[in-house]
């Protein structure tokens, strides 16, 4: 039997098996991710009332993109991501590095630092809502000033930062766990040789640790950014998009209360499809821009 005939036959047999193995995921993903997205793209050019929808035009996408609310929400979302991702990353790395030494009891600290991963968005937001309340929360009494009147969540200048704080705290556990795993996989002899070469702690960190954990950092950045862009629960529970729409992100614009999208599935689809494209472009930039910094060595 010729080699090509054998491999051709094997290829087709494997295709059958491959189809069987891919079918479960494929059907689910197709029906509940791809199909809705495609449908949403077409729904996005309709405006819906209480009982029916009218088709307007593809121009609806342009109108929506250029509208005040969308542009504002885009800026808020970008700001939110720019606050939560770098700070979350720095804090997570900082804590991981802090807890990376073999001293007695470090396990307890590690558990504490990971614990926020147990809090869901709803839980974390409710916690922070009570903490930041200017009348009954403790933070207000300690900080005074804006924290007291009108309150960190109520002042247009600080609201987004306050929501970010809640989000950063909630994601700290996740970042800590992943970065710790990355740190533990750095070969110790790299440090040894750097030490022997005369590098001090800081230089060891920048020349050895950072490059070696860069794949992990990329992973965390991607996840944190996605969470920032898709953040809804924390805004819904903490500020309802206010004050003065300063915490209305794109997702909140699509699903929040009292907004032009309320009750209008068509307009909602428009905004969420636009969000998808924004994420797409962002993902492209992230991978292009950041991937070159990532060291895949071994």
């Amino acid at each position: 039997m010729s080699k090509s005939k054998v491999s051709a036959r094997r290829r087709w047999r494997e295709s059958g098996l491959a189809l069987a193995m891919l079918a479960p995921s494929g059907v689910i993903l197709g029906m509940f991710v791809i199909y809705p997205l495609v449908k949403a793209i077409f729904l996005g050019r309709q405006r819906c009332g209480v009982t029916s929808c009218r088709t307007t035009s593809w121009h609806q996408y342009v109108d929506a993109f250029r509208s005040n609310e969308f542009q504002d929400a885009l800026i808020v979302t970008l700001k939110y991501a720019l606050i939560t991702v770098p700070i979350g990353l720095v804090l997570g790395v900082g804590l991981a590095v802090l807890a990376d030494k073999y001293i007695k009891g470090v396990g307890i600290f590690r558990t504490i630092f990971s614990s926020t991963v147990a809090t869901s968005v709803a839980v974390a937001s409710v916690m922070w809502f009570f903490l930041l309340n200017p009348n009954i929360g403790v933070v207000a009494d300690w900080l005074g000033g804006v924290a007291k009147t009108p309150g960190l969540l109520q002042s247009p200048d600080t609201a987004l930062w306050a929501v970010s704080a809640s989000s950063i705290w909630a994601n700290l556990g996740f970042t800590f766990i992943v970065v710790t795993a990355g740190l533990q996989s750095v070969p110790k002899d790299l440090y040894e040789s750097a030490y022997v070469d005369g590098a001090n702690g800081f230089t060891r960190f920048t020349n050895v640790t950072l490059p070696m954990i860069s794949p992990v950092l990329l992973f965390v950045t991607v996840v944190l950014t996605a969470r920032a862009f898709e953040g809804f629960g924390e805004i819904d529970l903490l500020t309802s998009g206010g004050p003065k729409a300063k915490t209305t992100t794109l997702t909140y614009l699509a699903y929040g209360k009292g907004l032009p999208t309320s009750g209008d599935d068509g307009l909602r689809a428009t905004v969420t499809v636009l969000l998808f494209f924004v994420l797409l472009i962002l993902a492209l930039f992230q991978f292009r821009g950041l991937e070159k910094r990532v060291h895949y060595g071994n």
């Binding site: 009218r54 307007t56 509208s67 885009l74 002042s155 490059p211 309802s240 070159k292």
Partner: protein
């Protein structure tokens, strides 16, 4: 194999990256430079912008009305800011008129004829038990009380069995109902007061008027304001169930310290300003009134309340009840006067702005602030129970539940009159006469005098019918603590005029939100006319877009 520390072989990647930066810049410029200054609500709509709002000083033409004019202002006349009215002297109408006070539709043929019918005899005619589902949004104590009433009803007869389904909150309930098709809908649903027009437009209802007429139900004991709130275009669409109105909460010890009478809280806006100044200047409290810009509170709903108390319309076409509204009217003199007053209250009267009030409790909690408290706050009467409970537990050191005073929500010329808040009960048209009849039977039970007495005694809501007050438990409750009756008296005193019924607008929640933005603007230093004109423009757009989307 550890290899080099820094990554190698970047040349090929560099070539790909070369277009990343310029693309980013171009993208940024495009995104920044292409803001259209239009609202999202206009996306995709090709419509000539509506005629812009009238200039500030014009007096709106008095709307045609057959009812008696309210207390001291003729409809359409405005209260110039800063001037005071002679104190309100007229007594509240204590004898309510009969239920047939709906404005007779003059030119429109009876809408009721075109709507689904209701045959209440179908219930007796059916054999066996009729099962109906009721979607509601009442939680905790309110929900428990409703459950109790439902259980009593189910146990008391075998014709109808009601399945209560709690949906979470008003928002979830609305979402689910609007997104369901006929098969998934319940037989009865509770909807908040701002949903009237949208419910009408779902074309999914059996109007309760049809059932009331078929059964010959006596509605004479119902408070007209509560009933008519849910009537528009000549049809009674739903029946009120849980009724609340805003009232003024204040701390009596603070009043005493300021030299004010704790049994006589201010009722006119001018009195409120004077009392506020006195509280602050005497040092009795840091702030006088806590103001918010919640769209369900100070920013939206209360604006409607204040305009109604002053005898002004909020929207055209008699607040959207004679015919669907086409625009809002609050950017004219009455509205501007109102917001100018609020600004004055902050600037001169020591009022404090607590923000958007996303939690719904910030104004009340400001009274409990240990270091910089306010003395007064407007909040819904439904908060009475919770406030007393919280204070009874020592929320404010040194203050007990008895120290809280309750008064009418002050208005331009007195505190009497209020728009109903809360929710109403709708019968869903499922093409089944027996179910519609069953739903009507349950509604009459929930709205009966005894049920209302029970319901309002356990929750903070107000009885929607007069004869409920003669029955225990509410009778004893009002007798033992008159503060609970204040909300009822305020509602009872509503003038018999079209302006006393709130606006019926399709996108009312969204309109409230843009109004709230204007209030927030003014309370932080903005100019009332500018803020209101901008809000009115946005509101008019919302109304027009709604009409377009709903076959208007």
């Amino acid at each position: 194999m550890t290899g080099t520390i820094r990554s190698t072989g970047r040349t090929r990647r560099d070539r790909h990256n070369r277009w990343a930066i310029p693309l980013l810049v171009v993208g940024g410029v495009l995104a920044a430079g292409c803001r259209s200054n239009e609202s999202l609500s206009n996306a995709g709509i090709d419509r000539k912008p509506p005629v812009t709002t009238q200039p500030a000083a014009t007096v709106p033409t008095p709307p045609p009305t057959s009812a008696a004019p309210p207390v001291t202002l003729a409809p359409g006349e405005t209260l110039p800011p800063g001037e005071t009215l002679p104190p309100a002297t007229t007594a509240p109408q204590t004898t309510p008129t009969t239920a047939t006070t709906m404005p007779p539709p003059t030119t429109v043929p009876t809408l009721l004829d075109a709507l689904p019918k209701c045959d209440t005899t179908a219930l007796d005619a059916s054999s066996g038990t009729v099962d109906i589902t009721f979607w509601h949004a009442l939680s905790n104590v309110n929900g428990d009380t409703l459950q109790k009433l439902t259980d009593q009803y189910n146990a008391s007869q075998t014709k109808v069995h009601v399945n209560l389904e709690f949906q979470g909150g008003y928002d979830e309930n609305i979402d689910k109902y609007l997104q369901s098709d006929t098969g998934n809908r319940p037989d009865m649903v509770q909807m908040p007061e701002y949903m009237v027009q949208q419910m009408v437009d779902t074309k999914s209802l059996v109007p309760t008027q049809a059932c009331a007429e078929s059964a010959g139900t006596d509605l004479s004991q119902f408070l007209p304001s509560a009933l008519e709130a849910y009537a528009t275009q000549g049809v009674q669409w739903s029946m009120p169930f849980n009724v609340s109105v805003p009232v003024l909460f204040f701390l009596k010890p603070t009043f005493v310290r300021a030299g004010l009478d704790p049994d006589n809280p201010p009722q006119t806006l001018d009195d409120l300003l004077a009392a506020s100044k006195q509280i602050v200047s005497s040092g009795a409290a840091t702030y006088s009134v806590a103001l918010d810009s919640d769209f369900d509170g100070g920013g939206g709903w209360y604006v409607e309340q204040w305009l109604a108390k002053g005898g002004n319309f909020y929207a055209d076409n008699e607040n959207g009840r004679a015919a669907p509204a086409t625009r809002v009217l609050y950017d004219e003199a009455p509205g501007v006067g109102l917001l100018t007053y609020l600004k004055q209250l902050v600037d001169e009267g020591g009022a404090v702005y607590v923000g958007d009030n996303a939690s719904g409790t910030d104004t009340l909690l400001k009274l409990a602030d240990a270091t910089a408290p306010a003395a007064m706050a407007v909040s819904t009467s439904a908060s009475l129970g919770p406030v007393f409970a919280a204070l009874g537990g020592g929320l404010i050191p040194g203050i007990t539940a008895d120290d809280v005073g309750v008064g009418f929500m002050p208005g331009p010329n007195g505190g009497l009159g209020a728009l109903v808040g809360g929710a109403s009960l709708y019968i869903v048209d499922k093409g089944n006469d027996a179910k519609a009849a069953a739903a009507w039977d349950f509604i009459t039970y929930l709205d009966s005098a005894q049920s209302q007495s029970q319901f309002t005694a356990d929750t903070g809501y107000i009885p929607l019918r007069q004869d409920a007050l003669d029955l225990d438990p509410i009778k004893s409750k009002y007798a033992s603590d008159a503060r609970y009756k204040v909300a009822y008296d305020q509602l009872l005193g509503s003038a018999d005029a079209p302006t006393s019924l709130g606006p019926v607008i399709g996108p009312l929640e969204q309109v409230r939100k843009v109004t709230a933005a204007a209030v927030a603007d003014v309370l932080t230093g903005g100019d009332p006319q500018t803020a209101l004109s901008k809000a009115a423009q946005a509101a008019d757009d919302l109304i027009a877009n709604y009409a377009l989307a709903n076959g208007g």
